[in-house]
């Protein structure tokens, strides 16, 4: 089975891109499965079901989504193998720009949209920087110049990635993406593989339910800002 990991900010068009990709791959939908990692609520399972694609959804709830991803992805792969899929796609909503649910040696795709502002690629961090392929959506509604500057700014952060423009509504660009995903490697287990980037450190009193504000309530990993009065 092949595993491909998708990540991207909320509403950047990950699900639409994956659905168009599946269409472009022109394969039996029964040979493909999707694991959707989300935080609180998601309606994307309905969109997958509508196309006959098997999907499992997991909610990280109060946990950091990246911690949630890494502690569940191995079981997800086992599920995919049991179902006899040829391809398993994981889809994670990256909420903070530091998210990077990518694994070394496993094809990683980042989806971002042109409407998020031309400088956004420069602010995203590991989720964009560590990806093998960057898919840009919503390019059909901005000018050519804005598309070019956006791609240029992606290149600044990730000099090696392939940048592919995909229209999530018409599917334009999806066959190009499908072509690049053909090289994804076959695997039988994720055991002992490593993440591409550390997950956010989060062991402090607020992780364990503390809600009060004040230095005496703060324990564990903390980082304080410096405010200059001069």
């Amino acid at each position: 089975m092949k595993l491909i990991t998708f990540a991207g900010p909320p509403s950047s068009g990950k699900t639409s891109v994956i659905l168009k990709l599946i269409e472009a791959m022109a394969i039996d939908v029964n040979t493909i499965g999707v694991v959707k990692f989300d935080c609180l609520t998601s309606f994307d399972n309905l969109r997958y079901a509508e196309k006959g694609v098997r999907v499992e959804t997991g909610f990280s709830g109060k946990l950091c989504p990246d911690h949630f991803f890494v502690s569940n992805i191995e079981a997800a792969v086992e599920w995919g193998l049991k179902c006899g899929f040829g391809t398993l796609i994981s889809e994670s909503a990256g909420l903070c720009n530091r998210c990077s649910p990518y694994i070394q040696g496993i094809l990683a795709v980042c989806v971002i949209d042109n409407l998020s502002g031309v400088n956004t690629p420069r602010k995203i961090g590991p989720m964009l920087k560590m990806a093998d392929i960057v898919v840009v959506t919503k390019g059909d509604i901005v000018s050519q110049a804005e598309r070019e500057v956006f791609a240029f700014n992606i290149r600044q952060v990730n000099t090696a990635a392939r940048i592919i423009f995909v229209n999530g509504i018409t599917g334009q660009g999806a066959s190009l993406l499908a072509r690049h995903l053909q090289g994804a490697r076959e695997l039988t287990s994720l055991r002992d593989m490593k993440l591409r980037f550390t997950t956010p450190a989060a062991v402090c009193s607020y992780c364990t339910g503390e809600m009060r504000i004040g230095a005496e309530y703060q324990m564990g990993t903390m980082k304080r800002m410096e405010f200059k009065t001069e």
Partner: protein, 344 residues
């Protein structure tokens, strides 16, 4: 220049010297929040005195920053040199929606304008999409695209992806809150244009020639009228974009000189494909591809007779424009206005 040379440069050259030659490198340091380095030192020495914690937050160490910086230098020096020029584009026919074969093969050369006509749903957008992704028999139409008479190699594909085709459609908007000047400066910056000042001035001039109503460099792009936006987008694509192929999905006739616009693009050594039913645009093209049931069913060379019709069509178009302008300025309309015999 080889990768090793860039690495040597990143190790030995003081930062301010690199920055003077490659101003874009300022962005590299901003992206990593390294804004208060000692710019008189080479990178590694400068990093010795910087905040190590901040570097760790990016998952980097000094050695990795050095490697990434030399990669950055190499990538953007390549961007500056890169022209992605082509001479011709060949479509090798596939099949229609019911499997019927289409025209065997057909080539467009630089400077040519090709219109694409056909009913809604006939496959016009599919053809544009096949060109954009350099189809290799792997799309539903089975078409193949060759460049300069040859198959596209993997390396070429990588170099050209995303740069081959510029697109323009009616649905496109400016979503940034910038003035026309800032907008063009930003685009020139990303193209690493050597003589940016001049390029911007030329592009602005072109845009104003195409637009019916003039605008200034200080106008916000979001405040341009439909026609002005389109004029700016076309001029920008012609003068600033490096893409040798332009795909246009209709241009509305909102007070813009469409014939001139298309000519401008073709003059800039580009191959222009335009999907349209506007007679003025369709007949301004050198050829038109007729799409039927997913196939290129016919290729019509614009005849001398058709070219001769253009003047008459332009007159009709001018009449409509005149009527629109009179309405805009609060005048009445009469048969004389329609015939064009009325003064003001």
């Amino acid at each position: 220049m080889s990768s090793e040379k860039y690495l040597e440069m990143a190790i030995a050259t003081p930062l301010n010297q690199i920055l003077a030659e490659h101003p874009i490198c300022r962005d590299f340091f901003m992206n990593l929040r390294l804004t208060d380095l000692d710019w008189n030192l080479p990178l590694m020495q400068a990093l010795d005195h910087s905040d190590q914690d901040a570097i760790t937050e990016f998952g980097l160490d000094r050695g990795m920053i050095l490697r990434e910086f030399s990669l950055f230098l190499e990538t953007f020096s390549r961007v500056a040199a890169d022209a992605a020029s082509i001479r011709s584009l060949t479509i090798i026919g596939g099949h229609g929606k019911s499997g019927e074969p289409e025209i065997a093969q057909w080539t467009a050369t630089v400077g040519e304008i090709i219109s694409i006509v056909g009913p809604t749903g006939s496959g016009k957008s599919r053809l544009l999409a096949d060109i954009e992704c350099l189809a290799d028999g792997d799309t539903p139409t089975g078409r193949r695209i060759h460049i300069d008479g040859r198959e596209v190699s993997e390396g070429q594909r990588f170099d050209m992806e995303g740069k081959l085709v510029a697109q323009l459609s009616q649905n496109m908007n400016f979503v940034m809150d910038l003035t026309v000047r800032e907008f063009l400066e930003m685009h020139a910056g990303s193209r690493m244009t050597r003589d940016a000042e001049n390029a911007i001035a030329r592009c602005f001039e072109c845009a104003n020639e195409l637009a019916g109503e003039k605008f200034t460099p200080e106008t916000k792009v979001t405040q341009l009228s439909g026609g002005q936006s389109r004029a700016l987008m076309i001029a920008d694509t012609a003068c600033m974009s490096s893409s040798p192929v332009v795909l246009i999905d209709e241009i509305e006739n909102a007070g813009i000189d469409r014939r001139q616009a298309i000519k401008l693009l073709a003059q800039k050594e580009k191959i222009v494909f335009i999907s349209t039913h506007d007679p003025l645009l369709a007949l301004s093209a050198d050829k038109r591809l007729v799409i039927k049931n997913g196939c290129i069913s016919r290729i019509i060379e614009t005849s001398v007779e058709e070219k001769n019709c253009l003047d008459a069509i332009e007159k009709l178009d001018a009449t409509l424009l005149r009527l629109r302008n009179r309405l805009r300025h609060g005048h009445e309309i009469s048969m004389n206005t329609v015939k064009g015999e009325e003064q003001n």
